[in-house]
């Protein structure tokens, strides 16, 4: 559906996209993650034909987006990282306006718009003035607007930024619905966990390059290994300080432990082993006279994985 190869974009000397490769299959919801300035918006704007690329190619449904931007415009719906609404225009008129720019007849637009407004939970707002809507509603209206011409690919740039939790939740529901409708969606965020719930695939971008990409399950798997194990423990017959020293010594003796920290009565163990091996770690502790009151692995945390990966990339860049 979307095939980006070797895409580069330079702003003067600054390289914003550095040979980006990205592949998205039809019907996928692809989460495009990266810190601010990674080049997500730049990529999206190039796909939409708003920005000229410096090199590389973008194919949307087999059509070259860089050479035939006008054909792409009918295939892509774009929700930018801002609202773009008018004063003095009602919701339905807003939809009609965008529909008419695609050359659609008013009656057709109205019919489609009613369905789309229902989808984004704004069915009762048809006659409301756009500028009086809440942020969340405006954002959802923008999604409906971007779908008016029934695009094959929907691109959303940080649709959740600046929304309160309630509005975020509603947006997530809308996107999930879109997913079930079989639309191919490219959605960006600088926060990974936000995307993991609704995406089928994820790509992590950093400094104009895609560092990791794959199905959400695979990425989650990778994230498993790096979650610290939390431990609360005491040692009978020892003072607190003495007990702490003992626990730390024992932990550090264990082969798969790569690091231990202690904070708030709790040990955080960076442990490279599997769940079974972790059970042996617990056994080893108990055998060394350590009484464990709590032992659990931190919930899968994509954020941590994200930081890990981007840090690694930084390190690689600093020390080539």
């Amino acid at each position: 559906m979307l095939e980006i190869s070797n895409l580069t974009k330079r702003y003067g000397k600054f390289v914003a996209l550095d040979g980006l490769n990205l592949h998205i299959d039809k019907g996928e919801i692809f989460g495009f993650v990266g810190p601010n300035g990674a080049g997500k918006t730049t990529t999206m704007r190039i796909i939409c034909g708003l920005l000229k690329a410096s090199g590389g190619s973008v194919l949307v449904d087999g059509v070259d987006a860089l050479k035939r931007p006008d054909d792409i415009k009918r295939k892509v719906g774009y929700v930018p990282d801002f609202f773009g609404v008018y004063d003095n225009l009602k919701v339905m008129e807003y939809m009609e306006f965008y529909g008419s720019m695609y050359g659609m007849e008013k009656e057709d637009v109205d019919e489609i718009a009613v369905g789309l407004l229902e989808l984004v939970n704004l069915a009762d707002k048809q006659d409301t003035f756009v500028d009086t809507l809440s942020r969340g509603m405006k954002q959802r209206l923008c999604v409906a607007r971007a779908l008016i011409h029934n695009p094959e690919l929907l691109i959303l740039d940080e649709p959740n930024s600046g929304l309160d939790p309630r509005a975020r939740f509603e947006m997530k529901e809308v996107l999930k619905n879109l997913g079930t409708m079989g639309k191919t969606i490219l959605i960006s965020s600088h926060i990974l966990p936000e995307l993991s719930e609704m995406c089928t695939s994820i790509g992590i971008m950093e400094r104009g390059k895609l560092i990791v990409s794959g199905r959400v399950e695979e990425i989650m798997q990778k994230s498993m290994g790096i979650q610290p194990i939390h431990l609360r423990a005491m040692v009978p017959g020892m003072e607190a300080d003495e007990a702490k020293a003992h626990v730390l010594t024992v932990l550090k003796e264990q082969p798969l432990v790569s690091g231990v920290s202690y904070a708030g009565e709790e040990y955080q163990i960076h442990y490279g082993g599997t769940e079974q091996q972790a059970a042996y770690l617990l056994k080893a502790l108990v055998e060394r006279n350590i009484m464990v009151s709590d032992f659990h692995r931190e919930k899968e945390n994509l954020e941590a994985l994200f930081l890990e990966i981007t840090n690694a990339a930084h390190a690689a860049q600093v020390h080539p």
């Binding site: 704007r45 930018p80 609404v85 008018y86 004063d87 965008y98 720019m101």
Partner: protein, 298 residues
């Protein structure tokens, strides 16, 4: 093919939004009050001027040129104002970007903005017809003069409007765009006049020193690019028995072919200037397609 007539979507939206703003009604009211005031003033002058010798109608004859000039002047101010935010406003709201992701071309965005401005101009014109027609009847002008005036004002609206939309695509601030539009208008006015009079001046000098040179019959061609010249010709024709052609032919020996062009000053000049305004619209379209990120961010 069953292709229905479709209004430019940008123009249509502009009209919906515009009809909801109170600004336009106030402006229309203001302009008509102003025109009425001028008519009353002229009529009062007529009364004062009539002494024992009877009623003096000569001041009434002033109604047409005065009202005509006032309308031309108002239009030259109003159109820059209504077009000044047309593109920059969309850019600021960032709706321009969204428009550019649709199949609508930048040129038709510019054209739609001009079209919307022109409908507003039409409203002004239509609303002022009652005052104008009373004045025209009193001033002894024909209906044709009124229709002609409206036509020529529409042409001027298109010209100034295109410059206005262009300026709005260049300058961010509405006030700056208004001023720039007026400045470009004055600039064209001054430039054409300067070229014209220099040309004639050089000829006059050469003739005075006795160098045999042919008459500068081509010099008035420059003035055809003066957007106000067809209006001048129109006023001249409606009020006197002469015309721009008459003036030129009086002064010099105009070859038949060139004379033909000068005889048709109004249509030729209007056509030329409409081409120029098309150029401004095209330039506006070019500027529209340059979006936020193509320019250096501040």
């Amino acid at each position: 093919m069953n292709k229905k007539f479709r209004m430019n979507p940008i123009m249509k939206k502009e009209l919906v939004v515009g009809s909801r703003s109170i600004k336009m009604s106030i402006a229309i009211l203001g302009i008509n009050l102003f025109l009425t005031l001028i008519v009353i003033l002229i009529m009062a002058t007529t009364n004062l001027a009539s002494g024992s010798s009877g009623y003096d109608y000569s001041a009434l004859l002033m109604i047409f040129p005065v009202l005509g000039c006032v309308e031309v002047g108002l239009l030259s101010l109003i159109v820059p104002i209504i077009t000044s935010g047309s593109i920059s406003g969309e850019r600021e709201k960032q709706t321009l970007e969204i428009m550019l992701t649709t199949p609508v071309t930048p040129f038709s965005i510019a054209a739609g903005k001009l079209g919307a401005a022109m409908t507003v101009v039409m409203m002004y014109m239509l609303s002022s017809i009652p005052v104008m027609s009373i004045a025209f009847v009193l001033g002894g002008m024909s209906w044709w003069a009124l229709i002609g005036l409206i036509g020529i004002l529409l042409y001027l609206g298109v010209y100034v409007g295109s410059v206005g939309v262009f300026c709005s695509s260049v300058v961010k601030k509405s006030i700056a765009a208004t001023i720039l539009t007026i400045a470009i208008g004055i600039g064209i006015l001054v430039a054409t006049s300067v070229i014209f009079y220099t040309w004639i001046g050089i000829w006059a000098y050469r003739e005075s020193v006795g160098t045999a040179v042919s008459q500068p019959v081509l010099a008035p061609m420059v003035m055809m690019f003066n957007p106000y010249s067809p209006i001048f010709d129109f006023m001249l024709r409606s009020m006197t028995s002469t015309s721009v052609y008459g003036m030129i032919d009086n002064a010099w020996q105009t070859p038949a072919l060139i004379g033909l062009i000068y005889k048709a000053w109004i249509p030729v000049s209007v056509a030329l200037n409409l081409l120029v305004s098309l150029g401004f619209l095209k330039l506006a379209g070019r500027n529209i397609s340059v979006t936020r990120n193509n320019k250096k961010r501040k």
